[in-house]
Assembly symmetry: C2
Homo-oligomer: 304 residues x 2
């Protein structure tokens, strides 16, 4: 779906895309957003770790359509990385991000430092407890989601959005953030958007830059295995075990791949299921060389 | 400080104290408060567990002065009670509370059920980690403050106040809530108000109704010991050890009293101090029969 300026909703006269601003200071940002709300403006928010790709841009495009003020945050959040993970080498390119944001019609970029978000004496964490955060990505990354929910709660309170957009690529993250938002009574509508893929099918991710050409080729087996699973289900298979076996079989054909998990889960609760249906999502995490990639397929959704 | 209607700030014409409303539904409450904010009204909030006493009323009185809309919540929060604590027998009298609230000029009472605040599937907790919640009250009540910060965060998000008022009787609670509010960037000003005492000096508490006449008499040694400590300090003593010993000496004179703790701490960090000064607070917790009482004295503050 291509969205041009012509399909944007009417926006207030105080808005001007060509005057995009980057704000680092928390209070300045919060005051600006509270004032916008008080003036009757609606706020759409896309929180990111930067190094924007077409997946992020699809979120901005949708946010631009839906609200008066479009806010993008760029913050590589240390609390969601475990020691030994790729915090220090996570790809960053603020100038490129800024140019892309301007083109996407962003009004405000929130670009704080880690010291602003977690100042000396910082001690408060927001955590979704239980299976939603201890399975899948949470099984091998114990404090990852606590870091995600903490920073997203803080960003929601700073930016005060009416709606926030997240990609379904990080399917579990979206489920965890939805749970947190509902549980804490945050007045924010969470919108999950479809995975955006490269022409060859690889799910877009800032981490794809880590892949060597050979790894990049092998990484295509993630989407290939999911598409194959989809065909197996379309052909009438309902046993999760059989569907997952077909995925594993496809993945192990690539010598450089190490499977972390391949699971069939209920799309809301993320409880594992033994029978697949329209409410099932297939999720997988795979290491290709030193890079860990995730992908997923909602069975109700057309393969994209 | 006595505050009458005559010292109230001007309030918007849409306000009418005589039309106080009680709302249980979360969405109704949140929509009402968001609308008030959008209409330019300021909101003062006093969260309580009900069974109102003069301590609560002093908070309402101050809130009434400071904002257009005064919101009181009454909710006996199960997540801050441990198994075996007094959740089930915690004193409740909603009709009396409602009458007192009306008299105090409250506009909206938020009065939800536990099932509304923690519906089936609820999984999110807000916690201040580290010494601020593991010392003093946190030492013997492991999940108490996690329950407090979770419900206060939720209440702040439902009521959307500009300012919230808490008594200094629960001194550590006030410090923990201040930390949480700062850390999560909640746009709420936290106001700590002086302890309100009975004519004989006993700090007001909903739990005082548990005391037998004899226990009630013995409970006076809490304030007596704090006043004595204040005199010791005024006479020039600066060694915390000596000041605390004088308190213990006074408390053990009562046969029914069991001391949980008596500590001298920095008023902001609650770190224990060895030398007392104007930034010191003396905190104590004592069991009188089956009732646990707390009290404290800021050394910078006049004994009240």
């Amino acid at each position: 779906m291509a969205l041009g300026c012509d399909v944007r909703l009417p926006r207030s006269s105080s808005h001007a895309t060509d005057s995009m601003e980057t704000i680092s200071d928390i209070k300045t940002m919060q005051d600006r957003c509270l004032q916008a709300r008080a003036a009757g403006q609606t706020i759409a928010f896309v929180p990111t770790m930067g190094f924007l790709h077409d997946g992020h841009l699809s979120l901005l495009q949708e946010g631009r359509k839906r609200a008066d003020l479009l806010v993008l945050s760029i913050f590589v959040n240390p609390t969601q990385f475990a020691p030994g993970e790729d915090l220090d080498c996570y790809p960053r390119d603020f100038e490129r991000d800024e140019a892309l944001a301007r083109k996407a019609g962003v009004d405000l970029i929130f670009y704080p430092t880690a010291e602003m978000i977690y100042p000396s004496g910082y001690a408060t964490y927001v955590a979704v407890e239980g299976p939603l955060t201890t399975t899948l990505e949470g099984a091998c990354r114990a404090t990852h989601f606590r870091g995600v929910t903490t920073v997203v709660a803080k960003l929601f309170l700073i930016v005060q959005p009416h709606l926030a957009l997240f990609g379904r690529k990080d399917f579990q993250q979206l489920a965890v953030i939805s749970r947190m938002t509902t549980d804490l009574n945050l007045p924010v509508k969470i919108i999950g958007m479809p995975i955006v893929r490269e022409a060859d099918g690889l799910a877009m991710s800032s981490r794809n830059v880590y892949l060597s050409p050979k790894e990049r080729q092998q990484a295509l087996s993630l989407v290939a295995s999911l598409r194959q699973a989809r065909s197996v289900v379309r052909a009438g298979e309902t046993e999760a075990k059989t569907v997952l076996a077909s995925i594993r079989q496809r993945l192990v054909q690539e010598s450089e791949l190490v499977i972390d998990y391949v699971k069939a889960c209920h799309a809301q609760t993320l409880d594992e299921v033994s029978t697949v249906d329209a409410e099932t999502v297939i999720l997988l995490a795979v290491r290709v060389g030193k890079t860990r990639l995730i992908d997923n397929q909602l069975l109700a959704e057309e393969v994209n």
